[in-house]
């Protein structure tokens, strides 16, 4: 199907990279943005779309999602994950390598890409593993993974505990200018912990994970980064100590980027309540002070991107004793509403929030998109800003329902998602090409 020309009329275009925030007409042709015009455009052959009263944003980019395919298709498939993405306004996602088998080989990378092409909804970028089988022992074939199209490497879900190996991975990756994404957790400090260590873990009699489990590893990797001159991307920053180190590292010009999830900048450890396994994630939800620190870091540029760490799990993984439950929450369909919640609470400006969903992640991994200048891909998210809605996990496009936000009132909803100039989602409906 040929995308043809489309004219999105009179929407409020917010494009932080290009400094645009105002009513514009956006003309799209052959999958690309052609013009963004303050004056109304008259293009007779274009398909017109009325966007008055809505926001017209660059398509959102999520650097951190688990699509579960291959291996755990009961939780999510690349198709259902892409549906969930476009329903949440995401036009591109980066798929983590902790699948079964692990993506430490060209075969798995190509499989994910093929399935994504078949799904034909959003762009799916692939992350390869740092180490074979995520075992933390031997480096995976990074050059082959890059050649197959991997945009970063990560052992996400696990840290690389061996500092020598981590140092060499950072060093080796410099020849590809590849970001190395890290899940920062010193396993000797987190131990058997299942939630943040503090008054709530003590009250519930659950083993706590101290912030030092994350901060100590951030410190280690920043030291290694400085020596190797590589590129480091810190996944799901959860606490004040990490933020402080990242801020200082950026000030000194190290090539480090970072992301934070909507749940970490929205919820505190108290959300565990009476053993709600939907609030079990790794890193764990932390304190009010940590939430505030993460919000400040999002606002001041210390953190570059909002990423969901979309982690689908079935009922069997969550309807169990808290210490036996699996970590993770689905996030694609609630990310915008939660981000706008932080905007309404005054933690972020609207344009900074949009940048964190678009320009920030695009730059962190050097991905196309993230803005709407002529020549950019026509990946566009249209948002109805004032509509209030209630999160209903049973209606997620994701195959899984593990969210601590079921029943929460959110404001702002995606009404259209365009990928490469093609409308793939509109008003709650998928527009699949097949």
């Amino acid at each position: 199907m040929s995308p043809g020309s489309t004219l999105l009329r009179r929407g409020r275009v917010i494009d932080p990279r290009n400094g645009v925030d105002g009513v514009r007409d956006v003309l799209v042709r052959d999958g690309q943005v052609v013009r963004v015009s303050e004056a109304p455009l008259d293009v007779p052959d274009a398909h017109g779309v009325e966007a008055e009263g809505k926001w017209v944003l660059p398509g959102f980019i999520d650097l951190h999602v688990h699509l579960r395919e291959p291996g755990e298709e009961g939780k999510e498939t690349i198709l259902t994950g892409c549906r969930s993405a476009v329903a949440g306004g995401f036009t591109a996602v980066v798929a983590m390598p902790n699948t079964k088998p692990v993506n430490d080989s060209v075969l798995v990378t190509e499989y994910v890409k093929a399935k994504a092409r078949e799904a034909d909804l959003c762009r799916v970028y692939v992350a390869g593993a740092i180490t074979k089988g995520l075992q933390g022992e031997e480096m995976a074939e990074m050059g082959a993974l890059v050649a197959a199209g991997c945009v970063c490497i990560t052992d996400d879900g696990r840290p690389v505990m061996n500092a020598g190996l981590m140092r060499r991975a950072l060093q080796y990756a410099t020849q590809f200018d590849l970001p190395v994404m890290v899940h920062e957790e010193d396993l000797t400090l987190s131990g058997k912990g299942v939630m943040h260590e503090g008054r709530t873990s003590t009250r519930l009699g659950l083993i706590g994970i101290p912030p030092s489990a994350e901060v100590a590893m951030v410190a280690r990797d920043l030291v290694l980064l400085e020596e190797t001159r590589g590129r480091l991307h810190v996944a799901h920053v959860s606490c004040e100590g990490s933020v402080r180190l990242l801020r200082e590292a950026k000030r000194r010009g190290l090539r480090v980027t970072a992301e934070a999830t909507p749940h970490h900048f929205t919820l505190e450890d108290e959300a565990v309540g009476d053993y709600d396994t939907h609030a079990r994630m790794n890193p764990p939800l932390r304190t009010r002070r940590d939430v505030e620190a993460v919000r400040e870091a999002l606002a001041d540029g210390t953190i570059d991107a909002i990423a969901t760490d979309h982690a689908p799990h079935g009922v069997l993984e969550k309807q169990v004793e808290f210490d036996k439950a699996w970590n993770g929450v689905v996030g694609l369909e609630t990310a915008l509403g939660l981000t706008l919640g932080a905007v309404r609470e005054g933690a972020l400006s609207l344009s900074r929030a949009v940048a964190l969903l678009t320009d920030g992640p695009a730059r962190a991994f050097g991905l196309p998109g993230g803005h709407l200048a002529p020549g950019a891909p026509a990946d566009i998210t249209v948002v109805e800003p004032d509509v209030e809605w209630t999160v209903d996990a049973t209606r997620f496009f994701s195959r899984s329902r593990n969210t601590p936000f079921h029943g929460r009132r959110l404001t702002g909803r995606v009404t259209q998602t365009w990928v490469g100039g093609r409308l793939v989602f509109e008003n709650g409906q998928m527009k699949e090409s097949r």
Binding site: R199, T202, G205, G208, D274, Q319, V320, E321
Partner: protein, 297 residues
């Protein structure tokens, strides 16, 4: 009370009501054998505890109930059945109450969300052990008349102790001052927020105590480096004879059992004039009868 999942959240009136019922049972005054006649109480022990299980069993029988004892030994749990499967299967046999003991903190809460009958927490992980705390409070109250205004010192592995958490909530609700004493590695983060005072200077606080509760030191913790050795623990935190001499004259000594004699408590102290450890054992059944009555009425 629909369930007894923990002491946290109970009011002073709730606690006093259980203690009053237990007092009546202890005197044997009312014949209670009709209270649960024809009903079934199911004991679900995912973790071994003969003492607690037997005590609940005796209490249920005394109220006229049938007891269904279920343990993990040789059960379907080893074949991968989940907690909820087990709980639902047992519930289908129609008990009025499930008495649950489990290694995981919060397991009784999970069960309670999915069954209609009452759930009694008989000890969950490192969270709570409410019936133990109630019997401890009962023991203290019977000696003192009033727990209010007294200082209770709890010594030992607070971090892993469900008994300590339940006692803290219970004694605070009754108006006592609670001091927790342990090496810093065994004091959980933020426990002060639950109303405790904490210290690792045992000899400073010992003379202030109206009652001292020694917790069991789990020998398996030694390999985890919470403290260097049982000998060192005993030297710093054991209630030995010399320390016992520094107790207030009428101070009471408790232990939830089973004891490591010579580690957290010296034999002479466990069997000495301060000890109310045998009272605790005797009060267990009365308290559990009272609990079953409260949740099944």
């Amino acid at each position: 009370m629909k369930h007894l999942l923990g002491i946290e959240g109970l009011t002073r009136a709730d606690i006093e009501s259980v203690l009053r019922r237990a007092e009546a049972h202890l005197h044997g005054a009312p014949d209670a054998s009709h209270v649960l006649r024809g009903k079934v109480v199911a004991n679900l022990f995912f973790e071994d505890s003969t003492r607690t299980r037997t005590s609940f069993e005796m209490a249920a029988h005394a109220l006229g109930a049938e007891v269904l004892n279920w343990t993990t030994a040789g059960s379907s749990v080893s074949k991968g059945e989940t907690l909820l499967d087990t709980v639902r299967n047992i519930e289908a046999t129609g008990p009025v109450a499930l008495v649950i003991r489990h290694r995981s903190s919060g397991a009784p809460h999970l069960a309670a969300r999915h069954v209609r009958c009452a759930v009694i927490n008989a000890g969950d992980g490192t969270h709570e052990h409410p019936s133990q705390a109630l019997l401890d409070a009962f023991t203290l109250q019977r000696r003192w008349g009033e727990v209010e205004g007294r200082t209770v010192l709890i010594i030992g592995d607070i971090l892993h102790s469900r008994v300590a958490r339940s006692n803290l909530h219970c004694l605070k609700a009754l108006g006592a001052r609670v001091v927790l004493c342990a090496p810093p590695t065994l004091l959980p983060a933020g426990i002060e927020a639950l109303g405790a005072e904490v210290t690792w200077r045992l000899d400073d606080v010992l003379p202030q105590a109206d009652a001292v509760m020694c917790l069991r030191v789990q020998s398996e913790r030694q390999g985890e480096s919470f403290f260097p050795s049982a000998r060192e623990f005993s030297r710093l935190f054991g209630l030995n004879a010399a320390r016992a001499e520094r107790l207030k004259p009428g101070a009471l000594v408790l232990h939830p059992g089973p004891m490591n004699r010579g580690v957290e408590i010296a034999p002479a102290v466990a069997d000495g004039p301060h000890s109310v450890i045998l009272d605790q054992v005797a009060h267990g059944v009365a308290i559990r009868r009272a609990i079953l009555e409260e949740v099944c009425q």
